[in-house]
Amino acid sequence: MPCWPASFLAGLALRPPIVGVGPLIPAIQDDLDISHAVAGLLGTIPVLCMGVFALPAPALTRRYGSRIAIAACLALIGGFGVARAAVPGAAGVIALTFGVGLGLGFAQALMPVAVKERFADRPAFATGIYVLGINIGSAVSSALAVPIADAAGSWRWSLAAFSIMTCALVAAWWWLTRREAPHRRAEVTHVRLPWRSGLAWRLVGIFGSMACVFYGLNSWIPDAYVERGWSDGKAGALLAVLNIAALVTTIIIPWLADRRGSRRLYFLVFSSALAVSAAGFAGLPGGAWVWAATAGLCTGVMFPLVMTLPVDVGRRPADVGATAGMMLGIGYTIGAVAPLLLGAVRDATGTFTTNALADRSGRRRALHALRVDVGRADRPRGDRAGRTVRARYLEGARAIAPIGVASFAFALSFGVLARTAGMGTTAPIVMSATTFGGSAQFAVASLLDAGGAAAAAIVAALMLNARYMPIGISVASSFEGPAWQRLLQAQLIVDESWAVALKRRGGFDIRVLLGAGGLLYVTWVSGTVVGVLVGDAIGDAESLGLDAAFPALFLALLVPQLTGRRELDAAILGGAIALALIPFTPAGVPIVAGAAACLLGYRR
């Protein structure tokens, strides 16, 4: 039985935890005594979570059905939201923001599945309904956040009010959907994320570029006009015009789109108009109100229609979930990084005009890259060996993903530390891209920071990275291809990628190493870039306990290696040597010396 109000109400809950926090940030910053960068995390974390958790969302709905899954996600948003409003201290507020983001990320990716299950005949309109909820939720929460805080005396009451409203929405969702048939697991088969589908990658590209434009405009338009001499209030009103104009088209055009015209037609018309308005902001900034209204009308159409695409292309709800998960997962990650990059362009060029231009040419370049990608993904279809090879890379990337989060956070702290150590912006990034070894890089940055000589820093770093020579030798026979290729692939060897690629009963899977190492390389370098650009978020990784993730990872990987007496002896000896040397030698030596325990295996 179709139930429009339920999906509208679910949409209402999806934005206040992000959008409603924005206007409160100055108050939160004062109260908790935190820097701009740390306060910025309150906005960045949920958006990143919307990317990260969209990927596993299909599994959730497969298991429990969209009714239960969405109710649970909304409950997470509300529950963690209340806790976040109540917890003292900045670390707690930021840690609980991850919980809120978890619910948001899952819920947003589940909505297309809910649409497919309930409104398969009118997908665009049904999508428009919950997107209207999302937009109204944004508008209301951004407008009410400050008044509530002023009236109640603290920003905490605003967050609490939004979260309590979300808890009420959980009850409403549950009651409104009570007539639905219970979910039957048996009917649903396992559906993988469509990594090899050219179509899915094209959706990723469309959603990613839309997210870039949308978040880019929202983050920087007010700043750009304040720079031109507008007042804060007037620049904010410009954004309000953009978002209110979006409300107008959100429902009407999708309603029309279910009846006549192809999706292609609507996309062509509205994305061209959006490009015109972006060019307008850059070329004729005087026409700001017109450009804001046009951009709003266009994004109002684009968002629901893009969200409908997975519903269009998926045959079964499970397919829809998988495609939507991939589209939102990668798309939001792009969208979360875009404002940061645009900010960097602004810092580098000194003007926002290049920004709008860069935005457009960047989009064209992204689309070009996409086409190449799609072509490549289409080719080896049906090749069984090819599939298992790819599965191996993915296995590596998946196994290491949680450590990828920690590694991103540590790269961020490295960027910050390197910056404060006077290494500038370029050198730390180059170092992450070439050295690609956390401990060695930290050693260099901290020694330079303490005023140490180059020689001391270099020797320390070399001792720390020396272990990669024996490790490289131990896995050398797994590498394939010409020498230059082996040289490049070998750069992806780090402790974590090597350790997950070890097989239980001896032996080594090079593809797992490359998948895991590739992911870590990306998180490490991008984390460094963010750390260098954003500045002083230092200490966060530790307060979130991420430093404890590494020994736990290595322990979990060590245990399956202990298959016999000799392995156990080597582990005990290696650990003992390392422990004994920690007080007496520079960092790095204990690991290399511990590695020498492998000589127990020497035979003539």
Partner: protein
């Protein structure tokens, strides 16, 4: 060349060489037998050394901080045959909660 860039270039080049030595020079050749024994035990030895240094190493001293508690809870999870994700998350959460409480 400034001190910073000297460090970046030398450490970067050395790291690339360290990592590439085995894969580039040895290639697909099987390891000689005298080397195969030690190499087979390299994984448990290095992993154990990493567990120790990552959990208790401070600046030239052995320290007991929330990392150790995180590792202990992680070890319980390993003993209960939890997945890698669970092990990592419980370890990090434990350390974070202890820091929050202190």
């Amino acid at each position: 060349m400034s001190t910073v860039w000297l460090c970046v270039v030398v450490v970067g080049a050395a790291s690339i060489l360290f990592k590439a030595t085995g894969p580039v020079l040895l290639g697909r050749r099987e390891l000689p037998t005298w080397l195969a024994g030690p190499v087979g035990l390299l994984a448990p030895a290095v992993l154990a050394a990493l567990v120790v240094t990552q959990s208790v190493a401070g600046d030239r001293q052995i320290v007991a901080d929330p990392r150790l508690a995180g590792l202990a809870v992680g070890a319980v999870a390993v003993a209960l045959r939890a997945t890698l994700l669970v092990v990592i998350v419980v370890a990090a959460t434990t350390a974070a909660l202890i820091r929050l409480a202190l």
